[in-house]
């Protein structure tokens, strides 16, 4: 099976769905080419090159470079979706949700419900999350808990190339609005990705690693941080089970509970904040549904409740690392009532 990067896997998913279904269109800032690109052939395809080459194959009627107005093109994309197209709209950084909040959270999320199921909004929003590029507080957040809050939105966080392709195809075929969160630091990660199309169903957690001592739930890039920690802990005789929920809405609570019932210990690793974040949400859910199984308090490994620093040394302190995960796992292991 050919090895592909996260970037290539996403690009391939878009190409295959655009070939299969002529109602799939692409809209966003710089999705065709970067500012000042010299002609179609030189098109860069978004700030990190993910949609490179699409303009050449599908032309400017299906790959639409929009003005710098999220409120405008996100509204247009929702209107197109309500009228039979399947737009893939690019919200470059999830931090920009503020300027199209009404369109996505008040309109797209509620349309199907408000009109008694008569209408649907098959819209997919691709957006970047995550810190690590030193691009400061307004370009580095992980706002997936915010999207997860809104009933009516589906929220997807692929942690690798295989999942990225199958989940994006699922998103493009889904009749509900889907927020597809790509982590900036994963674009160059490679793994085996089939050439054929395939769909990974939403709400199906992936067991990354099996182990009987501690359950670690991790999302997006944090799956790999958890993996590093688990490998190190395994050498010290502590076996962690790593669960990647893949989607936070719907959330595969059943798999998480099933694992915690086996291990009795839970550590949640997420790059969203410690307050009102995914770790808090999953922690509350497990405390409600599996309290009797817990042998130790649930531990959260998240960034601190501060704006994301731009200084690289401070940013590195901000992002959860394997050392912090190891400490949290040890604390759950050493806990005595």
């Amino acid at each position: 099976m050919p090895e592909k990067s996260y970037r290539q896997a996403i690009n391939e998913a878009i190409v295959q769905e655009m070939r299969r279904d002529s109602s799939v269109i692409l809209m966003g800032e710089d999705v065709a080419g970067g500012a000042g690109a010299g002609g179609e052939e030189d098109a860069w395809g978004g700030p990190l090159g993910v949609t490179k080459g699409l303009i050449s194959e599908f032309g400017p009627t299906r790959v639409i470079d929009t003005p710098i107005s999220e409120a405008g093109y996100m509204g247009a994309a929702i209107g197109a979706a309500a009228n039979g197209l399947r737009p893939l709209a690019d919200l470059m950084f999830c931090d920009f949700i503020g300027v199209c909040f009404d369109q996505i959270c008040n309109q797209a999320a509620k349309y199907h419900y408000m009109y008694g199921g008569q209408d649907k909004i098959p819209l997919t929003v691709r957006t970047m999350i995550g810190a690590g590029l030193s691009i400061s507080s307004q370009h580095s957040q992980s706002l997936h808990p915010l999207f997860t809050y809104f009933a009516g939105l589906k929220v997807v966080l692929p942690s690798g190339p295989y999942d990225a392709k199958g989940l994006l195809i699922a998103a493009l075929r889904d009749d509900d609005p889907v927020i597809f969160c790509e982590h900036k630091l994963l674009y160059d990660m490679t793994e085996d990705v089939p050439d054929e199309s395939y769909v990974i169903p939403f709400g199906e957690a992936n067991f990354i690693r099996e182990g009987g001592d501690v359950t670690i739930v991790a999302l997006s890039r944090m799956v790999h941080i958890a993996g590093e920690a688990a490998a190190s802990l395994s050498r010290q005789g502590i076996e962690c089970e790593i669960i990647d929920p893949r989607t936070t809405s719907p959330l595969d609570a059943e798999s998480i509970i099933e694992s915690v019932e086996q291990t009795g210990r839970l550590v949640i690793v997420d790059e969203s904040g410690p307050r009102c974040g995914m770790a808090s949400d999953i922690s509350a859910m497990v405390a409600e549904q599996a309290f009797g199984a817990l042998k130790a308090p649930i531990m959260k490994v998240t960034p601190p409740h501060v704006p994301i620093p731009a200084a690289p040394n401070l940013e590195q302190l901000y992002i959860p690392n394997a050392g912090r995960v190891i400490d949290a796992v040890r604390q759950t292991m050493e806990y005595a009532r």
Binding site: M1, E3, Y162, G166, D192, P194, E196, S197, Y198, V199, I200, P201, E204, N206, F207, E210, S234, G237, E239, E254, S255
Partner: protein
């Protein structure tokens, strides 16, 4: 006393994709007298837990690997030596082994670049292993419904010691073309025939499992001159009854782990052998565009209304090549009752405590039976 009598027991390589194995449990105590074929330890790979057998004779002097260790292929599991060997000699042997041990480089090209050939306009993916210069006939393994080459991960290495061994992904399966054409069963049969012919394998030892066994029998009936021998494993195609009809539908319908797990567990006498990784790998195949349609079409063509329509029992007696049937006693899918009252030219072996997949679940027994059968023909 020289070190010659001290023998290293190492992590085996089961299948092309295996890089490491995890020691689940030791099955022999230090101090136990062991000989070739004795059970040493349980090792878990990505796919399944299996038993490592001892190669050599002597006392198990050291269990070097610890329970739970994840070790690369070739890593030292333990040491056997005669009683005369001194402890310090054994320590020195272990130290030297560990000093010199370099995990085999995983050559990506070798592992990932599967071979392929076009047969009747379909791309068939296959793997090849073993004795390239062997004068014995090659072995060709054919997997069952919904399976692929990796079904034979525990069997290839054993037979590859003496034979050139091929494993083929049938059309609609594994990495091969997902197009089956209007007569799916005939497509599978002519693909195997075309594969043997186009690669000029000459007379071949054909080993087929389940639906792959029915395909193999069809090839044997149609082109008996192609085969040196025929081995059928938990075979379909011996009666019109289909014990595991539910399995076929459950397998086709399963899109999620929760549904796939109980389906796959029906394949084994010991359902705990089904690992999450096995479920994941199966789901990865099932998700590929076209696979559900292909499996549905295939199931309709070969098992319509819960009956098998391609039955070869009466033709076996007339086949010229030697035939062996191997069966798991606890098979829930193809009833072991089908192994009874075989014609005289078919040797039947029933393996206890194995389900529909004896070549995985009881790999060492399976390999012994299959290996002895082929050896008897050499």
């Amino acid at each position: 006393m020289s070190n010659d009598q001290i023998t290293a027991l190492t992590m085996p390589k089961w299948g092309m994709s295996m890089v490491t194995g995890k020691v689940v449990d030791w099955l022999a105590e230090e101090g136990a007298m062991l000989s070739t074929g004795d059970e040493l330890a349980e090792v878990e790979t990505d796919k399944i837990v299996n038993v490592v057998e001892v190669q050599g004779d002597g006392i198990l002097r050291r269990r070097v690997a610890k329970q739970g260790d994840e070790l690369p292929i070739g890593a030292l599991l333990g040491v056997i030596a005669p009683a005369e060997a001194q402890d310090n000699e054994i320590d020195a042997f272990i130290e030297k082994f560990q000093e010199n041990f370099v995990p085999e480089e995983v050559e990506d090209a070798q592992v990932k670049e599967a071979l392929s050939i076009d047969v009747d306009g379909r791309r068939l993916v296959y793997q090849k292993a073993g004795a390239e210069d062997s004068e014995l006939p090659p072995v060709l393994f054919i997997h069952g419904f919904g399976g692929d080459s990796s079904s034979w991960m525990f069997n290839v290495a054993d037979l590859a010691a003496n034979h050139l061994v091929y494993t083929l992904d049938l059309p609609g399966h594994g990495a091969s073309s997902k197009k089956l054409g209007p007569d799916p069963f005939e497509t599978l049969v002519s693909s195997v025939y075309g594969f043997i012919n186009q690669l000029e394998l000459g007379k071949t030892h054909l080993i087929g499992h389940s639906l792959g066994a029915a395909v193999s029998m069809a090839v044997a009936v149609k082109n008996p001159e192609l085969l040196s021998s025929l081995t059928i494993v938990d075979a379909a195609g011996l009666s019109d009854a289909l014990a595991g009809g539910d399995y076929i539908q459950e397998f086709i319908n399963a899109e999620r782990r929760k549904d796939m797990k109980p389906a796959l567990q029906k394949l084994f006498a010991n359902p705990s052998l089904v690992t999450r990784e096995m479920i994941n790998e199966t789901l990865k195949y099932k998700r590929l565009e076209g696979v559900s349609d292909v499996l549905t079409a295939l199931a309709r063509a070969v098992f319509p209304d819960g009956k098998q329509i391609h039955v070869f029992r009466d033709q076996l007696a007339d086949l010229p090549m030697p035939i062996t049937a191997i069966w798991g006693a606890d098979d829930q899918l193809t009833d072991p009752v089908d192994a009874q009252s075989m014609p005289d030219n078919v040797r039947v072996h029933i393996i206890d405590k194995a389900g529909h997949m004896p070549h995985m679940e009881a790999a060492s027994q399976f390999n012994k039976i299959a290996g002895a059968f082929l050896e008897s023909l050499a």
